[in-house]
């Protein structure tokens, strides 16, 4: 009970928690939150564990809620059968491109808006704000049109990851995150580098980038995560089955048997969960970044 005495946050204080009826309220809230936590955690865990049931148990009536059979080797067999390695590789290629385009282009844009501020750049800044706020309801078809027939170049970008890469390079929200981070870098450092004859691009790569490792790491992980979860544009632009990303692949499994669906869902869920568990710190930082913005 000593924990109650050290309560430092929230509405109910440690003095009040000495009363039994307030303690009862506290434990009721605690149980409610446990239920909420279970609703959050159990469904994906159930899918992952159930996907390792054998087929006989899948077809059993009534179905079992707690799986009785456990065959992890089934995952490997299905992995081979559906050649999921290919879709993992495709998604990885998509993610690498997204990371490069996002960090280099949005980063440069943020740098120019934050540090160089050429005449007229405030117009671009306002445009960025508008771009973030404007709903993209009308843009879906024209963007698709620009992908199948790039203006001026007249090339078709379908069945490649280039459209997603290019779109990652034009993300107003990320431009703002970079800009607000670069705003905090001391001016003196940049002036000193300029006096030493460093060019604008040199300052970006030699001063700004090394000082921005935390924001870049966060951006990198969130971009990889975003690329993994990206569904709509890959789904619209990639028709070649061999180039499907994992999300497009699992969506195409919707009319397959439940056991295959659950196994492919397992393949889709595990990597972002692992990514989160390893890089939790950076992902949580991402919230604060967007929090600064909000």
């Amino acid at each position: 009970m000593s924990r109650f005495q050290n309560k430092r946050s929230g509405i109910i204080n440690s003095m009040e928690l000495k009363k039994p009826q307030i303690q009862l309220v506290y434990w009721v809230i605690f149980v409610l939150l446990i239920v909420l936590a279970l609703i959050c955690i159990l469904p994906p865990l159930w899918v992952i564990i159930s996907s390792m049931k054998d087929l006989k148990e899948f077809l059993q009536v009534p179905p079992t809620i707690i799986p009785k059979s456990f065959h992890p080797e089934k995952l490997m067999d299905t992995w081979e059968m559906l050649s999921f390695g290919k879709y993992y590789l495709n998604t990885f290629i998509l993610a690498i491109g997204n990371v490069i385009f996002n960090i280099v282009l949005n980063g440069l844009m943020g740098y120019v808006l934050s540090r160089l501020k050429p005449k007229g750049s405030n117009v671009v800044f306002t445009l960025m704000l508008w771009t973030m706020m404007l709903p993209n309801a009308v843009a879906m078809v024209p963007v698709f049109k620009n992908i199948i027939d790039v203006p001026l170049l007249h090339i078709n970008l379908t069945d490649s990851y280039v459209p997603m890469w290019l779109m990652a390079g034009a993300n107003a929200f990320n431009v703002m995150v970079f800009k607000s981070f670069f705003d905090g870098i001391p001016k003196d450092l940049i002036e000193a580098a300029r006096l030493d004859g460093c060019s604008d691009l040199g300052i970006f790569f030699r001063i700004i980038i090394p000082l921005s490792v935390p924001v870049i790491m966060t951006m990198l992980i969130l971009t990889v995560d975003g690329a993994w979860k990206d569904f709509f544009w890959p789904y619209l632009t990639i028709r070649d089955q061999n180039r499907f990303t994992v999300m497009v692949k699992i969506f195409s499994m919707a009319n397959k048997t439940v056991d295959l669906q659950m196994i492919s869902l397992t393949f889709a869920i595990i990597p972002p969960v692992v990514l989160f568990l390893i890089f939790q710190k950076y992902i949580m930082q991402g919230f604060t970044l967007s929090g600064i913005k909000g």
Binding site: S9, P118, K119, M167, L201
Partner: protein, 312 residues
């Protein structure tokens, strides 16, 4: 001699220096613009041009994705007289209603309650974020499997164990939108909760102590200290939620394809169907423009209300 001139010109800017500084600004500016150029081109191709051309093309008859001839408001008339549009428009407001009731309130309540905990706080924070790691489309497919209307579906088996009759779930037109909203909330409420939580932890504890001395109970402390301390986030997420949910498309696409009988069809899904199923790009853009205008209207309304409440 020239050195001396430079020194004098330091204080009062001579015309020569002004010109050279103007030239150097120009030189610097042109380089800076050059650095922005690739990004600007991409923004133009993927954000700005599509927005303008989408509105523009909605007044034309299109073939493939190209304008054939100007038809005025014909696309709009055709779209509005389509019974599916009326359903989609009504449904979009139903989505907003349910998502405000479920998706907007849950993160606020969860954050306030988690903030009261002295036990397992990191676990609760982790658990609410956990669904956020599951890709949206995977979450939609997962819940679709749970909502299987057959008696052998997971949730129906649970209902049978509890002595209830199996439910039709998503196939029940009354339940389909609330259930899609539940799925979306499950996926997305964690990150919002964590942002609220971060704000709540910044609340000065002395305020609560002072309120307690004044005899304020739990709910009056909640009303006069907790809620005001997160009010800017409350407003922000209200707008983001409405704008986001009004454009819902992926979840109904993956879970119900707009069914049963258009009961979960949203405006964006209708626009998607026009564009990529019925191959009527012009009508897709008319629906898109209508959606866009409604959203602009809602946003302007929000800023007006917000401004009024600020001046109070």
């Amino acid at each position: 001699m020239s050195a001396k001139k430079n020194i004098t010109s330091y204080g009062q800017v001579s015309s020569g220096v002004r010109r050279s500084s103007f030239l150097s600004t120009l030189k610097r500016d042109y380089k800076a613009w050059l650095l922005m150029l690739p990004s600007l081109i991409l923004f133009a191709v993927f954000s700005w041009q599509p927005l303008i051309s989408g509105v523009y093309l909605s007044f034309f008859k299109t073939k493939g994705y190209n304008a054939v001839r100007f038809v005025g408001l014909d696309n709009y008339k055709a779209v509005i007289s389509d019974a599916a549009f009326t359903s989609a428009l009504g449904n979009s407001f139903k989505y907003i209603f349910w998502s405000l009731l479920i998706g907007y309130l849950l993160p606020i309540i969860a954050a306030i309650l988690i903030n009261e905990m002295v036990h397992l706080k990191p676990f609760f924070r982790f658990s609410v974020y956990f669904p956020g790691m599951v890709p949206g489309i995977a979450a939609a497919m997962m819940w679709k499997i749970f909502f299987d209307p057959n008696p052998t579906g997971l949730l129906n088996v649970l209902r049978t164990h509890l002595g209830m009759n199996p439910s039709m779930w998503l196939a029940n037109p009354k339940l389909t939108i609330p259930l899609i909203v539940v799925t979306m909330t499950w996926s997305g409420f964690g990150s919002t909760t964590i942002l609220y939580l971060a704000n709540l932890q910044g609340v000065n504890q002395e305020l609560y102590e002072a309120a307690e001395i004044d005899g304020a109970g739990f709910f009056s402390r909640l009303k006069s200290i907790t809620i005001p301390s997160i009010s800017s986030l409350l407003y922000l997420f209200l707008v983001l939620q409405i704008i986001g949910v009004f454009q819902v498309m992926e979840q109904p696409l993956a879970m119900t394809e707009g069914g049963p009988n258009n009961a979960s069809l949203s405006l964006m899904l209708q626009s998607y169907f026009y564009a990529f199923r019925y191959f009527r790009a012009d009508r897709a853009m008319a629906v898109g423009t209508i959606t866009f205008l409604i959203l602009i209207g809602l946003t302007v309304l929000y800023f007006k209300v917000n401004k009024n409440s600020d001046t109070d």
